[in-house]
Amino acid sequence: MSASLNLRAALLSLTILVVFLLGWHVAVQSGSSGAASNNDPEYAKLLGQQATQGKSAMPGPLDVISTIWGHLRDPFYDKGPNDKGLGIQLAWSLARVLLGYALAVLLAIPLGFLIGMSPLISKALDPFIQVLKPISPLAWMPLALYTIKDSGISAIFVIFICSVWPMLLNTAFGVSAVRKEWLNVARTLEVGPIRRAFTIILPAAAPTILTGMRISIGIAWLVIVAAEMLVGGTGIGYFVWNEWNNLSITNVIVAITVIGVMGMILDQTLAWLQRAVTYPD
């Protein structure tokens, strides 16, 4: 029953994809019928196909697929600062995200434990968290650039600051919501506080913590594109902006697709980890 449901869902997904690609293909082709080719051939060569043959600047799916194929065949070439392979750009973005995210994990989980376990610290830190949490991560960028004086590290800082909040709040909530009866089991067994934190609170709160980590990686991946557009130099966000300046809509669409797929991989990795620590009650 569920197998047939999955099969039907897959077929429907495939149909939607094919309809979308066909629609796209037809939509960008339609402009090419009225050829305005009564120009000087020299002039036409300078202007390119868009002006001379009325070809849409919007690439069709076939252009995008062939460009993706081109990138896939040689993802790591490096021909100077403005022409690097998509793989290199993606690797830069991933490295920044993972570094900023890892720093956020190192801060948010221990601090979240502290907030979750101590009502005093929870109340004392609450106003700061409430004010800092709604700040758009990019608003930190000028401050980061001024104090850190390095655009690459500033981008990492922006990722750090945007991934901290969901992890911090979820860890604090997960820790404070650990069932009293489990803690009482540990207490009646004379389990010390450190051991209790690792053997009772951590496994009990792990699903909630992982939910926060999953939200954070999603936000971090959203923010890195914008951050790299600002700081420039390398990364998938910079690639998008650079290709826009090159007027290569094909490459912009390729980058958008790659960003989506990478985001999905990151999210699914965390989802898998989340399932691994979830316990049936």
Binding site: T188, L189, A204, D281
Partner: protein, 299 residues
Amino acid sequence: MTDPTPNPKFISIEGIARRYPKAGGGMTTVFEDLWFSMKKGEFACIIGHSGCGKTTVLNILNGLDAPDDGAAIVDGRAIEGPSLDRAVIFQGHSLLPWRTVLGNVAYAVAARHRDWPKAKVDAHAMAFIEKVGLKGSELKKPSELSGGMKQRVGIARALSIEPKMMLMDEPFSALDALTRGTLQDEVRRICLETGQTAFMITHDVDEAIYLADRIVLMTNGPQAMIAEIVENPLPRERVRTEVHHHPDYYAIRNHLIDFLVSRSKTFKDAVPEGYDRRHPPVVRPTAGGSGPDAGRKAA
């Protein structure tokens, strides 16, 4: 079964009180000046209505709660917090759902014997899993077990640390009648075999009659008090399916139910003459005053 010369006060509750701040200021006294003691190897049940502080008494005994006045003493030492000497079987089974049956029991064993290697811990845990009849299910997670099996794991976990006494907070109240009966048999068998001292909260009068040597009756809270201590007239060797044929069975059962239905409310207003909080009256309800072993003939 029990020590040849049992300490008459293996467990001694001496004038304990517990008060909580009231919502509108002031204090609510759940109970005060409560006195009670138990011999080693004895099985005591405490019955009373919700809110009379039974669970608070139990939590003071296991060390999770502390009295505002008085002291609870076990084996000559005042209770100053939870201890591995006093195992608790909780009302909800309170197993750790991310651990297997073996993992749950081994967690307790490893807490008791911190220097044991893992193989020894597991072997020790397995012995107690077998004792409660769960061999073969040791690698299952609690979510895969029935309610009765979960409570068995709770019993195995409590026994595995080989405590000086067992404290049980309505351990079988969430189970169906059949499972409850089997587990009562097992708890009784294990307590008798190991000479375990046990203190149990229950709402089930029949459970109290089957399991307990003495039954503590608590009046309604707040300001609950021990109305009396009922000595069980039934012989120590009892069979669950036959206890209700014992001539004294209905005497004690009616006595307990009468208390729960009416006297638990009215006792406080008309405290009998000569009532001493330190020595609440001890009663032994029997059918027409027959001797303690009169039931043997009938059973």
